[in-house]
Symmetry: C2
């Protein structure tokens, strides 16, 4: 271990360009001697971001040796597994090997963790690729990684299979934010509520609104809508296309008897659904955009265009305790756990 | 007047494509017979959006007759002045000619107003173009326009010249949101605080933090920084490039003695300043992105990447009472009024 403390955000490992943060850097220092505020991880599996894995797989025409070489080359060039085409990374699973005295944690050496910051900023060294699983985008390796002081992670639970935990941790910010935003008695709408993050948000919203509140889910496909109904994760399920604001507005007004929603959570994975979310929100209500397909300008100008005084929040992937909130849903709800086991294992 | 009520958002005037809102429509109905929840305006001046005006001016090589023809053709084709290339519109000034009984307002026929919703969604008919002012992007016309029930507007004050009022109304959302977010004793940072919206936000922040709070302005150019110092609109002025997060972080930490900001307001007009805003915000603090150059994904993934539990808000151009808040600054501060008269008239 070095005897000095690094920058909490890892800028001490940026090689080029200087002055940027590790995520924006093209090359970072992946020497595996830690600073006093870093953590060393013995890596087991890389869970490559789906956009990145697909790009690599296609450029290799599915050839596994080529995929291995591409991954090795990226890490050799950049010191991190950040796909130069997509810019994205992924997460990793590993065992804690060393903890610097200035790294704030209550975990100990030997604990198994998943990192919750992107591989696109995580110093990584790959000694050997053991296996590439093209079905799950997972790559088993021998290697090491570093977590910065500001890096977030979750201890992997013993009672939940790794893959299931990973699937849920990927979207852990959304249910935790739902828990924070929704209060008893509120009317809440989850747009795209039949998907992975949507189901988790609907579960938290049902708990939080209590007996006087109302949860509405808007879903595109009848199958996903049926799923929500069967799981009793909403008081009303509406089948509608969230890219059609007027249709969504009318259908929501029908089930609410003309009143607007206090909180709207957008979990859709397609663009152009901002206006649906804004139109159904009441003045001084909140729209929480978790969808990465959200356009900043479309939301800002759209709300102004219809004179809506709503607070629009950019879905932060992180909030305190988010991993526990998400994993606890699998512990509390046998039905959601069974569904997710079917879908993601 | 028709005897029926239209949709509050104006979808009753959408000709194509059906199912969209007026802003997304390619053609809307600009018949000047109002529905019971509309307002008819006798238009005096169109204040064309700068991006739109520049595009038209360039395509016409500066020829005024060509600019006139282009504007007339757009309105004839679309029923609204929405530039087909830039997608943007602008605002208008006019006199209220007729108010439908279901249009909620305390104004009366004859009052002079500015519309605060975009021309890109406002039904417009131009009878004659009187004058094109290429210096100010303003076009004097004879014509009419319609405001929908959800459309917002401001009564033009008698004590402030029209052009000055327009310049300030353009960014009115920002100071009003600042007033709402900032509480006594807070540490607040305004990034890009030397610009138009920045000055207004800094003024409101200074008022709101009170004697125990602290306002920090980060500005790029020494001239704009000096302006803030002279106007006493901040306790600390930092000259730094907001696209360099580490530089901004270090300089802010220097003046705060290592503590983070409760509220950060971003008013910069260039991209890639999200991380500067996020890094200096304290956990559970708020970043308010007013800048239209904000990237949704860069903010969402960036905050996660450094494990920051901050609330990030998309700057809504509208909030209740925003026009009055902005105009009142010109009434309260002789210095800001003089500065803006110099800059914008
Ligand atoms: N902010 C963050 O930090 C963060 C982190 C992770 C993920 N995300 C984002 O969160 C979003 C959701 O992720 P996810 O894993 O929950 O995705 P998902 O499981 O694919 O869920 C998306 C849901 O939206 C529905 N949908 C699609 N088009 C629709 C439409 N036009 N109208 C109504 N519903 C529609 C889908 O229904 P069908 O299946 O019937 O199409 C599906 O149920 C993605 O955009 C992802 O990028 C954000
Ligand atoms: N959300 C909404 O509804 C809404 C409505 C209207 C406008 N806006 C947006 O608000 C933003 C600001 O508008 P405005 O009229 O106030 O613009 P402005 O007067 O041009 O102000 C921008 C300020 O940012 C400074 N700046 C530029 N680059 C910088 C850097 N790298 N580091 C630090 N400061 C930098 C500029 O300084 P220099 O002059 O030295 O370059 C200037 O003082 C724009 O993006 C605009 O699109 C949003």
């Amino acid at each position: 271990m070095k005897s000095i403390k690094g920058c909490p955000f890892g800028t001490h490992r940026v090689i080029e360009p200087k002055g940027t943060l590790p995520q924006a850097a093209t090359k970072i220092d992946n020497t595996m001697e830690i600073y006093t505020n870093e953590m060393l991880i013995d890596v087991k599996t890389l869970n490559v971001d789906s956009a990145s894995f697909t790009q690599i797989e296609e450029s290799c025409h599915g050839n596994v040796e080529c995929i291995k070489d591409t991954i090795l080359k990226i890490v050799a060039d950049r010191g991190k597994l950040q796909n130069p085409v997509t810019g994205s990374g992924g997460m990793l699973i590993g065992v804690i090997e060393e903890i610097g005295p200035d790294f704030p944690t209550d975990l100990k050496v030997g604990d198994k963790i998943a990192t919750l910051v992107s591989l696109s900023l995580t110093p990584l060294r790959i000694d050997k690729i053991l296996k590439v699983n093209v079905e799950t985008d997972q790559v088993d390796i021998e290697g090491k990684a570093i977590l910065f002081e500001s890096g977030i992670y979750a201890k992997l639970p013993n009672d939940i299979p790794e893959k299931l935990a990973l699937a849920v941790l990927d979207v852990a910010g959304a249910p935790a934010q739902t828990q924070k935003l929704v209060k008893p008695g509120m009317t809440v709408c989850i747009i795209g509520g039949g998907g992975k993050s949507g189901v988790l948000c609907a579960y938290e919203a049902m708990k939080a609104v209590g007996k006087d509140g109302k949860v509405i889910v808007v879903e595109y496909s009848p199958e996903n809508a049926k799923r929500i109904e069967e799981l009793k994760l909403a008081h009303h399920v509406i089948i509608a296309d969230a890219t059609k604001p007027v249709e969504v507005y009318q259908k929501v007004m029908e089930v609410t008897g003309g009143s607007y929603c206090d909180v709207v959570i957008n979990n859709v994975n397609v663009p152009a659904t901002e206006m649906s979310s804004i139109l159904i929100t009441k003045d001084e209500g909140t729209v929480y955009f978790f969808s990465m397909a959200t356009s900043f300008t479309r939301a800002a100008l759209g709300a102004e265009g219809v004179g809506k005084d709503v607070t629009m929040i950019i879905g932060n992937g992180y909030t305190k305790g988010h991993a526990e909130v998400a994993l606890n849903i699998l512990r509390e709800s046998k039905e959601i756990r069974e569904l997710f086991e079917k879908l993601y294992i």
